[in-house]
Symmetry: C2
Subunit: 381 residues, 2 copies
């Protein structure tokens, strides 16, 4: 019997037991209060394995704590092993009977350590984002947004939360902006779908973060942005022309925004975004009269492909939010602000996002319809 | 050359690399956003090693991401390996050139994951406690407190923060309580040392937690407790007779406290702790006169060895704190409360700890001097 027993009881610990013990201990000494990293020198920080395996029930019958209460087969299993540093190993095994390092105490320490490690390492910032697609007909062209293209551009900052996204588009609409009922129908569709597919799901905790892709006439993009005011965690994307796609280029020079203020504040106030194209003053006075007070946000050479970084969206928000306050201070909160935009899609959405419904002036948003010039499209009040 | 190269380039990864990778990854998939535990089945929770090793630079020249930019010798080193689950391994290696899983991205993921693990697993509640010793002569006996005995009794809840402790005792005092200057000298010593050795070190952040061991005449123990009012984290210990020592027994029955109220509230108020011994009424009326209003906290059979658990200290605090408010409500805040104690050392300290200096009545604390009965010893105002 004795010979057979010795044949079974080997000090060999399987590699997979060692691997998983390292993982569950996060490579730290499990002696309560020690927690020392065991993969590097505490003196020089050089990589070195300074771990040891302490048996809770002793390997040999007359070892510390003995081995009554465990079968031989379990002696080298993970539940009987503590990953420890050499100093703590000696303390645990210093006395013949284990002394104050009892089986129950060591089991409790192992369990507490490994539970703590599992809990704290399980907490990671979620990379899940719901892909929000919003396409509406622009002029005579429909704008089918493809989920796959949008989802691909989230990487590596975020991953799509599902494989469909949330599509707010009015599918199969044949209307164009010239049709008088276009704005009413698109607005009802957008507001209704946004409430059902976004707001209610956020309230239920199903949606934490949105990645927003819009291709639509600018008043609808501004409206979309204004619906997102309660949504703290959203990234707005821009469809780039060179290189084509929604993904942000790795790096790009930024373009400085500037603001032109009106010389007098007597006429009806207008906010003009002359960013993707220049907007000549006559285009505004044609609509508002010669005394219009025109506030213009522009860049040195307006063009449709200058938004190349997420940082530019932040700069735009930081510039325009105080500008809205300034305009209100000159013209009063009840006066309607006439909004004319020639802007990249992302900035139209961002303009809507910074609107504060209780503090800002009402907005009359115009759309540019080919040779017809600017026509009133949407009011946000 | 080719043959030699093949001889060097082996897929073998050293065990110590695998161990430390498991530790640094905390056994979780390092693909950013995955974090899956690799030591158990996600379906059944059974222990199983489901890990794989992903090479950042490919093992073979024409593998994903190739292996330009790394020496053959470093291919199987920890810096070139990600601990991953099978699903994520396939994604990383699905395309011939790695696709969007570039070397730079995978290196960043590895680094972010392992830094996060090191930081979050490094946070542990400290078990360090400063051992506070306070011994003063009791009657004709000096009370040398031994650091080693005290420190031993902290285990396993706490460990001593250093190997000396903080000793507030007046070393070599030959005075006894009968000496008129005894109280004045001991008080000055205790208050002075407490400020220098405890309060100032707490303010400097050097001391987080105190383990308090007192053996001294009861008025001085109450004074010590009253000095600790700003110290949130402290454990008070009791010197037990059976079994002898400061360590708390593993478990013990608790003894119920009871309160006896005076029949009239007209005379001078007295708080009596009749816990380690009975205190007959004449002992109080001898001092305060026949109309004394005596509030007594007692137990069924007063004795010196009934405090056996930390829980009893908490019960005592919970009983006496509202009792102090009740006494004040009857007698007024400015009236001195005469305090007579026959109590285990731990409860005398706890009585001082629950005193609220701005809200409570002044305390006149008496000491029992052999056959002389109670004599005024210390005033806390």
């Amino acid at each position: 019997m004795k010979i057979e027993h010795r044949a079974i009881a080997t000090r060999h610990i399987k590699n997979t037991v060692k691997f998983t013990l390292w993982g569950r201990a996060a490579g730290r000494c499990e002696f309560e209060g020690c927690n020392k990293p065991l993969w590097k020198s505490p003196v020089t920080q050089e990589p070195v394995n300074i771990s040891e395996h302490a048996h809770i029930y002793a390997f040999s019958e007359d070892g510390p704590r003995g081995n009554r209460g465990i079968t031989k087969a379990k002696l080298n299993e993970i539940e009987n092993l503590l990953l420890v540093c050499s100093d703590c190993h000696r303390k645990i095994d210093a006395q013949k009977d284990g002394g104050r390092y009892t089986v129950a105490l060591l089991q409790q320490w192992k369990s507490t350590h490994e539970q703590r490690i599992e809990v704290v390492t399980g907490i990671v910032p979620s990379k899940r984002s719901h892909v929000l697609l919003y396409g509406a007909n622009i002029g005579e062209h429909s704008s089918p947004l493809k989920f796959a293209d949008a989802a691909f551009s989230l990487f590596p900052q975020r991953y799509p939360a599902d494989d469909r996204g949330i599509d707010l588009s009015m599918i199969g609409s044949l209307q164009s902006e010239r049709n008088p009922s276009f704005w009413k129908n698109e607005r009802e569709n957008l507001e209704g779908k946004f409430t059902r597919s976004v707001k209610e799901r956020i309230a239920l905790g199903e949606v934490d973060h949105l990645s927003v892709f819009g291709l639509a006439p600018q008043p609808l993009l501004i409206l979309l942005g204004s619906l997102m005011i309660d949504i703290k965690h959203a990234d707005v994307f821009q469809l780039h022309r060179e290189p084509a796609g929604w993904a942000w280029p790795p790096s790009a020079p930024t373009v400085p925004f500037s603001v032109q203020k009106p010389s007098s504040f007597d006429g009806p106030p207008a906010l003009v975004l002359a960013l993707s194209a220049t907007v000549t003053p006559d285009r505004i006075t044609d609509v508002l009269g010669d005394n219009a007070s025109v506030w213009t946000v522009t860049i040195p050479t307006p063009n449709n492909d200058f938004v190349k970084t997420r940082g530019q969206l932040a700069e735009f928000r930081k510039l325009v939010r105080p500008l809205l306050d300034q305009i209100k201070a000159h013209h009063g909160q009840r006066t309607p602000l006439h909004v004319f935009t020639a802007a990249p899609v992302s900035l139209s959405i961002e303009l809507g996002r910074i609107r504060m419904p209780k503090a800002d002036m009402p907005w009359e948003i115009y759309d540019q319809v080919g040779q017809h010039g600017f026509i009133p499209a949407i009011t946000i009040n």
